[in-house]
């Protein structure tokens, strides 16, 4: 049985940012190709999980990209409020990644 580790133990970068004013994009960079491939293969990061994590009604709005050249997984989600609109709490989208720290990846 594979043991699961905290994502922060195998990721060098976990971050979020606006991808232009209407989207948040969340990037997870792994520390090596092997951990990246295990994370992708595990399927832990999937549309349903992300939709639940960010309280999105429609999981089809979640986009997940695996990018082997950078050992990275990118997640892009719609913003509830566009950058700077009434009720937005993160103009640059720089602190939206925090829930990702709760992920555990089997390695």
């Amino acid at each position: 049985m594979a043991k699961a580790v905290n994502i922060a133990d195998i990721a060098t970068i976990i971050r979020s940012k606006n991808a232009k004013p209407f989207l948040f994009t969340l990037d997870i960079f792994f520390d090596n190709l092997e951990h990246y491939e295990k994370a992708v293969k595990s399927g832990v990061i999937n549309k349903k999980l992300i939709a639940g994590m960010y309280q999105l009604e429609n999981e089809e709005k979640v986009e997940i990209y695996n990018f082997a050249q950078a050992w990275a997984i990118k997640i892009t989600i719609p913003r509830a409020v566009a950058s700077g609109g009434i009720g937005d709490t993160d103009i640059y989208g720089a602190q939206q990644h925090a829930p990702l720290y709760s992920l555990k990846i089997p390695i």
């Binding site: 970068i13 940012k17 606006n18 991808a19 232009k20 004013p21 209407f22 989207l23 994009t25 990037d27 960079f29 994590m53 960010y54 309280q55 986009e63 990209y65 990018f67 050249q69 950078a70 050992w71 990275a72 990118k74 892009t76 719609p78 509830a80 566009a82 950058s83 700077g84 609109g85 009434i86 009720g87 937005d88 709490t89 993160d90 103009i91 640059y92 602190q95 939206q96 925090a98 829930p99 709760s102």
Partner: protein
């Protein structure tokens, strides 16, 4: 021409860059200096107001170094999205700074300016003809929204820059532009591969962010040749590695391998990144042509804001914070019911869910301290100020279950406690518009300085 070297001082004019590193770049004899000067990242206020996102002192500092360097080497300087939202007002503001520097330093040059504003008539016509596409905002554009916008700009592609370059200007200052356009224009004009030129522009436009260590405040040199390009940070202690450059493909992008740009999509799925000394060699990027579209951005005013900032340290008050917020909101709405349509009340509770809101995963955390922002957005500043005054006073003194601290609920941070924060805008246009000509909307004018 075997190669073109483009020097970019930083990720955005006005953010500063080390002069000695820029001088290193100039020693490589670049054929152009190209830099981005704007962004939508700081939010819709700047587009709505038509104001720069940076202070004049910083813009002037950066521009002065660039204008002196371009004069010495007699090469063009290309600046896009000047300065911030890239409206006509911020373009003129930037041009005035350029002229001020020219007077002070006795510089003479041929200046081209290219505004990026879009008229409401044009956009409404495009709407009627079905040329407007909805994408990331997920809201179809209407004529009413076009009318509501305070300012509307479109991101010009490389074509208006190339058109201007044909008249051999020394300095080009453009309004809103697709970020890589300034870096890609000269190479594309000289017949270098469009995909590689645009990709090189995408890397350069952030300064040395694609280097290791990463810095958007340091210069970077791009060298394009037949079949590939090279990127090299000007800080001798940094390197561009295949990993650092590939990593950068993700930055602020929706998709790491496909990027929409005026006229098509840049496809990085077969891109090859290779190490060459301190540089990274990039090849294999493809450009998939499509109908020519421009990204149009508009911002509309939605009201005026007043806020108060307070801390909460009493543990019983902290445990009753939801009660307090619900009661003061209900009570304030009832008091101002005659203006019910004209205002909104918002609370941001740092230490509870101030950043993530309903996505906050730590529901049962017991903080020892909370930061509280009360916010009113109303039709006029006077109304926002009045309602926020009522709201903050009530929040301070409302009785709550179990209250022992009967002298006040909040540690108010400032006097005056209610802060008028001015106009509030929202991005109400963020759409793609199909156009027949990539240059027709962007009139170029020339001036001898």
């Amino acid at each position: 021409m075997d190669e073109i070297r483009i020097l970019t001082p930083n990720g955005s004019i006005g953010s500063g860059f080390p002069e000695e590193l820029f001088a290193e770049g100039m020693k490589r004899n670049p054929q152009a200096i190209a830099v981005d000067a704007g962004s939508t990242d700081p939010g819709p206020y700047f587009l709505g107001k038509g104001l720069s996102i940076s202070n004049k002192r910083m813009i002037k500092r950066d521009l002065e170094i660039l204008l002196l360097a371009r004069d010495k080497n007699n090469i063009p300087l290309l600046v896009g999205s000047a300065c911030g939202p890239g409206t006509r007002s911020t373009l003129e503001w930037t041009v005035n700074i350029v002229k001020e520097i020219a007077r002070e330093k006795n510089l003479h040059f041929k200046l081209a300016t290219i505004p990026g504003d879009i008229s409401k008539e044009f956009l409404k016509n495009a709407l009627k003809q079905g040329k407007v596409r909805t994408f990331e905002s997920a809201q179809a554009l209407t004529a009413e929204e076009v009318d509501r916008a305070a300012n509307i700009v479109a991101q010009m592609g490389v074509e208006p820059f190339i058109e201007a370059l044909k008249s051999k200007p020394d300095v080009i200052i453009a309004g809103r532009a697709y970020d890589p356009a300034m870096m890609a224009a000269l190479p594309i004009m000289h017949g270098f591969d469009e995909a590689l030129a645009e990709h090189m522009g995408k890397i350069l436009e952030c300064g040395s962010m694609a280097a290791e260590p990463s810095s958007g405040f340091e210069p970077i040199l791009g060298t394009i040749r037949k079949g590939y390009f090279l990127v090299e940070p000007m800080n001798p202690k940094s390197r561009c590695t295949p990993k650092s450059v590939a990593d950068h493909s993700l930055y602020e992008e929706r998709n790491p391998v496909k990027a929409g740009l005026p006229g098509g999509t840049l496809d990085l799925s077969r891109t090859i990144f290779e190490q060459t000394g301190r540089m990274t060699r990039v090849s294999g990027t493809k450009f998939v042509k499509d109908a020519y579209t421009l990204k149009v951005e508009g911002a509309a005013k939605v009201g005026y804001r007043t806020v108060f900032i307070a801390g909460v340290r009493d543990p019983i008050m902290i445990s009753q914070i939801d009660y307090l917020i619900a009661e003061v909101t209900k009570n304030t709405k009832a008091f101002f019911r005659n203006a019910a349509e004209d205002f909104r009340i918002l609370f941001h509770i740092y230490g509870k869910d101030g950043v993530l809101g309903k996505a906050e995963c730590l529901k049962d955390a017991r903080p020892f301290e909370l930061g509280l922002i009360g916010e009113v957005v109303a039709k006029t500043q006077e109304l926002a100020s009045t309602i926020c005054g009522y709201l903050s006073h009530l929040s301070m003194h409302l009785d709550y279950p179990g209250c022992k601290a009967t002298a006040g609920n909040l540690a108010m941070l400032y006097s005056p406690e209610n802060i008028d924060a001015g106009e509030v805008f929202e991005f109400n246009i963020y759409h793609l518009v199909e156009v027949e000509s990539p240059i027709a909307l962007f009139p170029i004018s020339f001036e001898e300085i």
